[in-house]
Amino acid sequence: MMRRVFVLAVGLVLMAAFSHAAGPPEVEWPGPDRTISVVVPFSAGGGTDLIFRELVDEMNKYTDAEIIVDNIGGAGSATGTNEVLGLPADGYTVLASGAHTVTATLQGLTEGYRELEGIIGLNWDPFIVAVHRDAPWETFEELLAAAAEDPEALSFGNAGMGGATGVLTVGMNLHFDEVFNVTPFDGGADLIANFLGQHVDIGVFSQTEVAEHMGEMRPLMIVHPERSTIPELSDVPTYEEAGYADLNVPFGSYRSLSVRAGTPQDRKEILSDIATQAFESDRFQEYMRRQGLLPEYSRLDGLDAYFAELENLFYPILEAADLLAD
């Protein structure tokens, strides 16, 4: 018995010694031979993935550590988010968070942002409401008038109920007395295919999607107070210009970086500094302009506060769509 206690005690002392050796006195975190992974909770090659790859590429210039992108898609964005929450809060795993994190949390798919802390808020990717070029409606007003005549006759497609486009379509439908038949599709590509085949009347798309398919899409309005910075889309009216200044819905996709709650403050600050330098670089700023992404910078506590604002904005919409967790 004594022997066991002794062995245990020695073990504990050794462990304490080792953990100390690996612990605090670090001047330089993350250290040149470590890898930081940015978990993108969507599959490789998608819109969100491309933006974070661009940012991570730039972030690598401001640290000796290697920063890589890990794609962990599934269940909206919940699978990747839950993976991050399952790993140690040591700053080596960063989540590509954003509006999708808020919706997934409200739906009860993940503890999500309640267990996350902000690193940096990046940008909004405002959505555009469009109809097919062959459709008779030239403005959103005309479209709305046609929809009001026979409620639910016109279908309004999104890329999936749980995602940002789903929230936008449901929110708009609520605002306009539910005149549309909101129909979810299986992701952005599926929505575009069905839209081009005219199986759905109205669609909500990112700006790059609209710019790619300008030949067949007629953009009616951009759901943002400012016009697009993409030249082809610069004459698309904002929702205020279209006459719907009181439309209070999320603008589109919002993107940010977060870490698991409990990550040491100094590490969060280092991460935030690296990301801020990348964000402010000419290259990333130029990239955002080209993609029509609108900067919405915040850091650390500022991002946490912004998430709380987003929750307030999303809650009533998800509640109305019956998407809230029980």
């Binding site: 490789a44 269940a75 993976e83 575009i192 998407l323």
Partner: protein, 516 residues
Amino acid sequence: MMELLAGIALIADPVTIMWIVFGVCFGIVLGAIPGLTATMGIALMLPLAIRLATATGMAMLLAVYSGAIIGASIPAILLGIPGNPNAIATVYDGYPLTQKGRGAEALIAATVASLVGGIGSLILLAFFAPLIARFTLRFGPAERAALALVGLTIIASISGRRLVKGVLMGAFGLSLAFLGPDRITQTMRLPLPAITAGTPLAAGIQLVPALIGLFGISQALYDIDRLRSGRLSPPQVSFRGSFPKPRVFLRMWRLMIESLGIGTFIGAIPGAGASIAVFLSYQRAQRRTASSDGDTRAPELGSGVLEGVVAPEVANNACKGGALIPALSLGIPGDAATAVLLGALLIKGVVPGPTLFIDELPLVYAILFALLLANIFMVVFQLLGIRVFPKVLATPVAILLPLILVFSLLGSYAVEGRAIMAASFNMGVALLLGILGFFLKKNDYPIAPIVLGLILGDMLEQNFRRAMRLARGDYTVFLRSPIALAFLLLAVASIAYAVWSSRQAAADEKEGSGED
């Protein structure tokens, strides 16, 4: 003409060709490991590809894509375990051929078929891409739901005389597909939601771990069981006279053209995928072999017939060209692998879509030429490898079977790459379905209908419900679309044929019971 030459020049340099060779070899090895898919290989190579010149990077990714498809046929034929979903249907006749000692012949037939499918769909892609892409756009929710229904009737064909058991297994597969988030409302459909909601089960059952469990692990357990009872004799692979005569392939020209058409077309429908195409073409092969000589005593598909290997292998390679059709001409990926390819193009600042053929014509030619080279190298390396691959079977079974089990579990883990929780969960799914598959196999239940149910259940459910939502509950939407109507009639005919032929078979058996 200048553009064509410029495009070829982008590919025809030693460095790019070296990358294509690397990609093909990497793809074959990756595809041959159960559970590793073409999509995974392309995603893995994405960071490397974007560091290369655009055409070179695309060429390398296309080479990985091609290699992974042909590689998947190796374990399907030799071990009865499809490397990835592309080779699901190759198992049915490929593995019995190996057991008859004709494994090398089956591999060569699969290689020839892959070349036909790859080059054939490339020709269709090069000349008819915009036309086919336009037509596939007519596939809305109603049409896709009807197509999924046709796919489900394949359960009848692949169950043979075990029709009732087959339907039962198909229903089980469908119910597996219902787990996870509701595809329309996103609400959770889970048993014991209080416990399972935060677990990876919330994302549903993934196809690849299910495939590994039902085919890989169950097969290994089955073989171990037979080994114990002394009924397992390791298959022999002889190379003598193993190259099938050209006239064998010439005889199958109609089947090849049909499979090519099915593969290219299904590949071009966004979201349909190779796993449906291979089963549809396998069903065609079954009809062809059944009706071609009118002799009911002709070797039945499923017992080890070359047609059963050729049809799906033409189709899955044709899918590759098919999936690129909407990708290049509309900017919509035909499957998950082409979605990553499109991502690679976007990272390089190239916007796929209608304008690609105007703004970036040399690049389009470069992509087509790279695909041609990838197809050729894929065949060359596969043929070189055929001398080596069957040596796997020379390994003592006592070593081979545990190795298969280990690789199967590794493969199911690798599906989610770095997602530790989801990956461990997938191993559990593979193991459980493997044990289940073992008992089903022992009791003579067909396994494939479960996989079909799992694949098609998702496609059928979400498209049916979407179609109903768009039509505001009006069922006649399926009759008003000519495409959907044609599929529905096809489904009815297919079921009627299956019932008729199973009765016929039963009658024959009664009549000729003394001859067997």
